[in-house]
């Protein structure tokens, strides 16, 4: 049995290993970037720093999905929507920071609004010039959407594939909406041309490294939070809901409440991931809402291994690294590889890489995961439909 305080989640062995590797890698990259001059063989370019930052954002997003899919059995095909909403909230703050440095030099209105002949800022853009307000919205907007959507869906017991399909419809509808210029989020082009964040130029190496560190810290924090949630009493009920929702309900648990809280927490984490992602890549557009993105995210988690948390992180980083490499060498082969990965993982490796490692190297498993019991992972055939 597991102790369920936050402190113990922080100090358990898996968390320690995870944070050790994460911060080790981040610090290494940071030092290599900052200390060595650009012409040195050991120098790590700003591009690599940003790339790593991007991977860590994806990892955070995958972690969020693993929380609902791996532990609660809710396959959300719309988590990309929460990610993108967080990203848009951050993008709006960054747009307001541009001030009169835009192409049209209008201090009040972002360029695209000037282009559309708008005379004043829409009401929902007010407040986004303050970082605290934007930060609040980054948490609030995805959280609120997930809360309302989940409240409606779980209360009427929409489960399984039905839930997956309506979450997909949700992100699809949002994508169509954000493509419209009239909505006031830059339409097709989205938000871009960002200059600085909290006064620091986004182009400088220092800011990039700082953003990478911030992402790493957020990821570590989210990891510990997820460990804590899954280890707590709430986490145990959530596992029961995943494995046999009706039985949990019959025993007397309001299963929809548990699902709702986990779903909302997960959406907030996804929103944070989006908010950290946008300043690093420099753009947010409606393409982030596309159903393909959300479904690709599911495969990261599946590749890494569900219901392990660190599996999701490993999967996200590996698949995206593969994507970077593949699209560089032979772009037309990437979709074949991704498609093959979907099929291979679901048919041959239902437990993902983590499951494979555990199966084939029992000694390794004993050494690394002594404190981690196996009972919180679904068996390959055991999941209810």
């Amino acid at each position: 049995m597991r102790d369920s305080t936050f402190k113990s989640a922080l100090s358990d062995r898996t968390a320690k290993t995870f944070m050790g590797v994460l911060f080790g890698a981040t610090l290494l990259v940071t030092l290599l970037n900052q200390i060595f001059p650009p012409d040195s063989a050991l120098h790590v370019s700003a591009y690599t720093v940003t790339l790593l930052g991007k991977y860590l954002c994806y990892a955070l997003l995958a972690l969020a999905l693993d929380l609902v899919w791996g532990y609660c059995g809710i396959l959300s095909l719309g988590h990309g929507a929460f990610f993108a909403l967080g990203g848009y909230a951050m993008g709006m703050y960054l747009m307001r920071q541009i001030g009169d440095r835009g192409v049209y030099g209008n201090a009040e209105l972002p360029d695209f609004m000037v282009f559309l002949n708008w005379s004043e800022l829409p009401w929902y853009w007010h407040g986004f010039d303050q970082f605290w307000f934007a930060a609040l919205m980054i948490l609030l907007v995805p959280g609120l959407l997930a809360f309302v959507f989940g409240w409606l869906a779980f209360r009427s017991r929409v489960t399984g594939v039905y839930l997956s399909i309506i979450t997909q419809a949700l992100t699809y509808a949002l994508m169509l909406a954000f493509f419209r210029n009239e909505l006031g989020f830059g339409g097709n082009n989205g938000l871009t041309d960002f200059k600085d964040l909290l006064g620091f130029s986004l182009q400088s190496d220092g800011t990039r490294v700082a953003l990478l560190m911030a992402t790493a810290i957020s990821l570590a924090f989210a990891f510990v939070l997820c460990r804590w949630i899954t280890g707590s009493k709430l986490g145990r009920v959530v596992l029961a809901v995943r494995d046999a929702e009706s039985r949990a309900r019959f025993i007397g648990y309001r299963t929809e409440h548990y699902k709702l809280w986990v779903f909302t927490a997960s959406a907030i984490l996804a929103g944070i991931a989006g908010a950290l992602y946008v300043p690093q890549v420099g753009i947010i557009n409606p393409g982030e809402f596309s159903p393909l993105n959300s479904i690709e995210l599911v495969v990261w988690v599946a590749v890494g291994g569900r219901a392990t948390l660190y599996g999701a992180v490993i999967g996200a980083i590996l698949v995206n690294y593969g994507k970077t490499v593949f699209t560089g060498i032979m772009p037309e082969a990437w979709l074949f590889a991704l498609g093959g990965l979907f099929v291979a993982v679901t048919v041959f490796m239902p437990q993902g890489i983590v499951g494979l490692v555990e199966k084939h190297w029992p000694t390794l498993k004993q050494r690394f995961m002594k404190s981690d019991s196996n009972d919180d992972r679904p068996s390959a055939q055991g999941e209810p439909s």
């Binding site: 396959l75 959507f149 409606l152 869906a153 209360r155 009427s156 017991r157 929409v158 489960t159 399984g160 594939v161 039905y162 997956s164 399909i165 309506i166 997909q168 419809a169 949700l170 699809y172 509808a173 169509l176 909406a177 493509f179 419209r180 159903p291 393909l292 479904i295 599911v298 495969v299 599946a302 037309e332 979709l335 074949f336 991704l338 498609g339 093959g340 990965l341 979907f342 099929v343 993982v345 679901t346 048919v347 239902p350 055939q381 999941e383 439909s385």
Partner: protein, 557 residues
């Protein structure tokens, strides 16, 4: 240099010509009739003129003389009259100045190639400056057009007659009107009669007699021809009589109300058309998802394969676009069914009972299929040629028409639906499919080979997706993303209608199609789609099992 010069020359010529024809039209009218009347008796006395002789009168500078010649030509009983009048319109009748005769001519290599106007035999070439096309002005053009319309009005082909009568709508030339009246007496084709009546009634609007005018207004109030509305509005501006004003306003209101009704009908037709597309796309899914419980995210790509099969069949049979669809249909069914069975045998079979994993694996398959098509056919869209019998429209009245391709696709979708329904309800395979979907273990105990039934059912659903692709190829571009754009909509239709219920799928497809098109004029296409999606999301919260939920024990699984 030479080019600029010739352009300037042409411009000068054009200005001269226009001013000439203007001047001609400004001439006092009294001078024209005496000349005509003088000439006509003279010709009647003389021996009948040959066509060549009449044509030669066109060498005259005066437009009145030319008009007389044209009218004379039109009276000739010869098959050459219509081609020659057309040639005059097209500036292909040429005045040869060397011997002062008129002949057909084409300009080639800086010379005029002359043809005999009657026999169309070549009669030699002349220098480009030695001949000029016969010049006509707007008045003569009207005369020629009217003469041509008169010929068409008396042709044996009823389509040509109707077209001619329609062309004469709004024409107030008394000769034309009397010709129309004459034709009206002997005409027996309803369409032609309708057009003639419209033309005569519009003419009657300017009659001096108030009763005639009021009768005409009353008759015209049931007519939707655009010219009718214009003429009524014109009359409303000019009339002084109160009774006529009231009648006109009433007639216009009536016409507007009818136009609005037909526009609603038009919207509903488009809704039905969209609904039939949705039905075609969703019906295969209704089998694989609804009956077998398998989430096939590659369904859209199976539709795409059907569309590409149509394209390939057309490429293989380039000269038979009219009937290549008949080959494309079974071919598309086979291609998609075979691919579907492959997917079932090599992927889905291992994942029965794990719907979420099936969803992911089939999504992977869809990516592979898309990319394969991109590699084989290029990422660009391909065009499928629509056969002639599917292009054009069924014109119900001037404001309402049904395009044939959409009409056929509605019927086709219904036919596929009924065929599938029969297959499931009346055949042995259908019985087995239903048995396996209701209770696999019991079905197996009764000797049904469930593995084989699964493969065949999946093949059937996939094959129908292929057929849907053939139909969709007639409406949209065929490209690698064709399937993706339909997959979410298809799932919405199946879930909204109620999984496992084909009638629900039918209702949902047409309901959503019509709702979408009704919202479009108010909200715009994209917003309409978003609203429909939000509606479905909310609806599923209220009724998670769709419009027509399955009842009984199978439903709670």
């Amino acid at each position: 240099m030479g080019d600029t010069f010739s352009r300037i020359l042409a411009a000068c010529l054009l200005i001269m010509l226009t001013s000439l024809s203007w001047a001609e039209e400004l001439l006092p009218e009294e001078t024209a009739p005496p000349q005509t009347t003088e000439e006509t008796p003279a010709e009647e006395i003389a021996a009948p003129l040959s066509i060549q002789d009449i044509l030669n009168q066109l060498t005259e500078r005066s437009f009145d003389m030319k008009e007389a010649a044209i009218r004379q030509l039109a009276e000739q009983d010869s098959p050459r009259v219509i081609p020659l009048l057309n040639a005059l319109m097209e500036r292909e009748l040429v005045h040869n100045r060397e011997n002062d005769t008129i002949s057909l001519g084409h300009k080639a290599d800086g010379e005029w190639q002359l043809l005999d106007p009657v026999s169309e035999q070549p009669i030699g070439t002349v220098n480009s400056r030695a001949a000029r096309p016969v010049v006509i002005n707007n008045r003569l053009r009207t005369v020629i057009n009217n003469q041509l319309a008169l010929f068409a009005l008396n042709s044996d082909n009823s389509d040509a007659r109707a077209e001619a009568a329609e062309q004469l709508i709004g024409n107030d030339d008394p000769d034309m009107l009397s010709a129309l009246r004459l034709r009206r007496e002997s005409e027996d084709n309803a369409r032609v009669i309708e057009q003639i009546d419209t033309a005569l009634n519009i003419a009657a609007l300017s009659s001096d007699d108030l009763t005639t005018r009021l009768n005409a207004i009353d008759t015209l109030s049931r007519n939707l021809h655009p010219e009718v509305k214009n003429s009524l509005n014109d009359r409303l501006r000019n009339t002084e009589v109160d009774a006529e004003k009231v009648a006109l306003e009433k007639a216009l209101a009536r016409i507007d109300a009818r136009i609005e009704n037909f526009q609603t009908a038009d919207t509903i037709f488009f809704g039905l058309s969209l609904g039939s597309v949705l039905l075609l796309a969703a019906i295969g899914l209704a089998i694989t998802f609804g009956v077998m419980g398998v989430i096939n995210m590659a369904h859209g790509e199976l539709i795409m394969l059907g569309a590409y099969t149509t394209y390939v069949v057309q490429q293989l049979l380039p000269n038979s676009n009219e009937w290549s669809l008949l080959i494309a249909l079974p071919a598309a069914f086979l291609v998609s069914a075979v691919v579907g069975i492959f997917i079932e045998r090599f992927v889905i079979r291992f994942l029965y009972g794990r719907p979420l994993e099936t969803l992911l694996a089939t999504f992977g398959v869809s990516l592979i299929l898309q990319q394969a098509v991109r590699v084989i056919f290029s990422p660009l869209n391909r065009t499928v040629i629509t056969p002639d019998w599917m292009s054009g429209a069924l014109q119900i009245n001037p404001v309402f028409s049904l395009t044939y391709n959409r009409l056929y696709i509605i019927f086709f979708a219904l036919a596929v639906f009924l065929g599938l329904l029969t297959l499931l309800k009346k055949t042995r395979l259908g019985l087995q499919v239903r048995a396996v979907s209701q209770n696999r273990t019991t079905a197996r105990a009764l000797g049904i080979r469930s593995e084989r039934v699964n493969a065949l059912t999946f093949g059937l659903g996939s094959g129908i997706a292929g057929i849907a692709g053939v139909a969709l190829a007639q409406l949209t571009n065929v490209g690698p993303n064709l399937g993706q754009s339909y997959i979410i909509d298809s799932f919405m239709v199946v879930v909204f209608g109620g999984v496992g219920n084909l009638w629900g799928t039918l209702t949902a497809a047409f309901g959503l199609g019509i709702a979408n098109k009704l919202l479009e004029p108010m909200a715009g296409a994209v917003l309409a789609k978003i609203l429909v999606l939000i509606f479905i999301i909310l609806f599923i919260q209220r009724k998670p099992r769709g419009l027509f939920p399955q009842r009984g024990r199978a439903a709670e699984e």
